[in-house]
Amino acid sequence: MKPSRVLEQNIAVFGASGSGKTVMLSSFYGATQEPQYRQNNLFHVVADDAGQGTRLHQSYLGMKNSARLPMSNHFSATSYSFSVRLKDEPDAKAMKKKPFDALRLVWHDYPGEWFEQNVSGPEEAQRRIDTFKSLLGSDVALLLVDGQRLLDNAGEEERYLKALLATFHNGLLSLKDDLLEDGKPLVEFPRIWIMALSKSDLLPNLDVFKFRDLLIEKAGDEMADLRQVLAGLVEGSDALSVGEDFVLLSSARFDAGKVEVTERIGLDLILPLAAVLPFERHLRWAELKLLPAKVGEKLLSGAGALAAVLVGIKIKRPGPIGPVLKFVGLVLSQEVLNDAAKLAGDRLQVLHAEALAKRDYLTAALTRFKIDLEAGEEKRIFIRSLR
């Protein structure tokens, strides 16, 4: 598979030290290596660096078999690149007519301390800037709210929530000059900042609506302040969702001396959140005319490729991903794009079933992602912005 035929999505997980970033990454990857995942899914998740894959799998097995938590990151960040490879060899001729034939997820893991305290010296300072620059090239960001800390502050959650949001706010503000080249706002930037409750198994009575309400009631002002800081970093800041999407996550259930890695919440939404949520949102923003030309061109080229796959449109000119994406963005009408973005419910199920029957696994995988997001909403672990 040529790398030029891969659509890459980056995910940025922002969380304080101890909020569960590394555990989540290990749990996400480890679960995809389990036999039932391999049986039940249309694709394999493969670490592009085999050594990294082994280490993540090892961390997962350490949790599963010995209740041992993965080591935290010390002084440096690591980027993990995963390819979502379709299970069966697809029809080569049909695949050539798709704008891409594989998805890649890049997940950046880094020390949570980087938001909370000063770095040790110039070397770490540079690493922190480089990492945040990569993080800010993502499409989606998850802001982790630590379920354990909410529990520790039961009844006065505002103490924790306000401090957490202020930490993100101040951290980003203090790096602003280093993150922006010549002070120019960024075009590539996570425009969807999802509030994510980590360790949500500790709060079994909190569904995603109660989580949202808690955040808005107790730290609504701080969320608004954070939005303002983020808006100051980005070109076309009307096209920005901060604290409008919410998700519950739990990487495992931790009991005394035992880690039940099979009891996970929301981790199956990670791929759909990275792959199809930005696509839908970008198109909605285009429809509402919130995207300045330069931003629209950038965001919608990827949307065009996804739309083509979702609604099964064949394109005539395969080739390197850049030109093809632009091509697809141009030739697909707004109606087709919107149609693909709004695919839902029964029609989505029908398209998914048809794709499966035709062994069109790329379309099947993407329609599955959309179905998974709908299922997440029904299970009250995910809220999608209505704006």
């Binding site: 030290s17 101890g18 909020s19 569960g20 280490r55 090892q58 961390s59 041992r68 938590l69 993965p70 080591m71 935290s72 010390h74 002084f75 440096s76 020390p111 949570g112 301390e113 909370e116 305290q117 040790s120 010296g121 110039p122 070397e123 770490e124 630590d146 354990q148």
Partner: protein, 114 residues
């Protein structure tokens, strides 16, 4: 003292508490720790330097419930005779044990030195 020491407290994150006399101890730390496995205990000798990692001997944990690790880079005469993690616990840990007892529960990190 020819010792770099990195650790964390209950509420403050991983940082250097001894810088071994280097203005920026991180490149020195990296030069011996790069490639060291993510295991709770580690020992490795690189040239004249020793990389050493072990969990807090008193089992002290951070706010997230993780046992606090201590990491050292020892060099010069101090590195001689440290050929295992057990040697490190015997020869190096006593040099910092009291200091850690004083600072680990502080709300904010102490600054590095020495």
């Amino acid at each position: 003292m020819s010792l770099i020491w990195a650790t964390r407290g209950r509420n403050w994150g991983f940082r250097f508490l001894r810088d071994g006399g280097f203005q920026d101890p991180l490149p020195e730390y990296d030069s011996v720790f790069s490639g060291v496995e993510d295991e709770p205990e580690a020992w490795r000798r690189v040239a004249e330097k020793v990389a050493l990692r072990f969990p807090d001997p008193l089992g002290r944990k951070d706010a997230a419930g993780r046992v606090i690790p201590h990491e050292f880079v020892a060099f010069g005469p101090l590195a001689e005779g440290v050929d295992t993690v057990a040697d490190g616990l015997r020869l190096i840990w006593p040099l910092v044990a009291e200091e850690f007892a004083r600072v680990w529960e502080r709300p904010r990190p102490p600054s590095s030195g020495g």
